[in-house]
């Protein structure tokens, strides 16, 4: 099973919203994956298949072994779907 990290600055509020919406999109796509929400510094030390985060935090994570996709509007299921499609 693929492992996806939803990343924000604190690993509390923002990434949790992102994780909920990623899970909903995966559900719609019929994909099974393990989604975790973490803060940016923990994420840099974790291994995963895909990281989903904002453009700003993506810069901090440059060089991470995982694929990184950027989502700007965490509420926009369509944007999240486009970001995840072909990657999960």
């Amino acid at each position: 099973m693929k492992k996806i990290l939803a990343v924000c600055g604190l690993g509390q509020g923002t990434s949790l919203i992102l994780r909920m919406n990623i899970e909903q999109v995966l559900n719609d796509l019929g994909v099974n994956a393990d989604v975790e929400h973490v803060d940016v510094s923990s994420a840099s030390g974790m291994s995963s298949d895909l990281i989903v985060t904002s453009a700003e935090l993506a810069k901090t994570l440059e060089g991470h072994q995982s694929d990184i996709v950027i989502v700007n509007n965490y509420f926009d299921l369509e944007e999240i779907k486009q970001a995840l499609q072909n990657r999960v």
């Binding site: 924000c8 600055g9 604190l10 509390q12 509020g13 923002t14 949790l16 919203i17 992102l18 909920m20 919406n21 940016v40 904002s54 453009a55 700003e56 935090l57 700007n72 509007n73 965490y74 509420f75 926009d76 299921l77």
Partner: protein, 144 residues
């Protein structure tokens, strides 16, 4: 208890910058005895140190800190600015709505964020929040 109360909503305030706006939204939570003033300081510190990632959707910022930074009771506040403000976010600036959130633990955080997501992620509901002159309309949206 409702997630949002009349006393934690404020419409069309003027804020001079992002930090001022976060403080104003945080002060609504302090006045309602949901958080201590240390929590507001922690939200500001997070914004300064980690950056504008809290602007999670166009025109919407959700400043927050950790439960141990001074949360007394789970709750949110909603501040609508009279004039939008730049938070420094690449694509979601300027910010018009600040929804400060405070959760006492992980599970209350989750419930609260689901509620917020269902309201602020819904275009029609968001439109109401941006346009209404009645605080009670906004409280009502968070009730269902």
């Amino acid at each position: 208890m409702d997630l949002l109360q009349l006393e934690t909503v404020e419409l069309d305030r003027v804020a001079k910058d992002a930090i001022d706006a976060i403080r104003l939204a945080g002060d609504l939570l302090v006045q309602a005895n949901k958080v201590t003033s240390e929590y507001v300081d922690a939200m500001v510190k997070n914004y300064i140190e980690i950056g504008p990632y809290i602007v999670i959707a166009p025109n919407i910022a959700i400043p927050h800190a950790r439960p141990e930074n001074g949360v007394q009771e789970t709750g949110i506040s909603l501040l609508r600015l009279s004039d939008p403000i730049e938070f420094g976010h690449e694509s979601n600036d300027p910010v018009k709505l600040i929804c400060a959130i405070a959760g006492t633990d992980q599970s209350s955080h989750l419930e609260m964020l689901k509620g917020i997501s269902q309201v602020l992620g819904n275009k029609a509901k968001l439109e109401t929040i941006l346009k209404t002159n009645e605080k009670k309309d906004i409280v009502e949206l968070f009730r269902s």
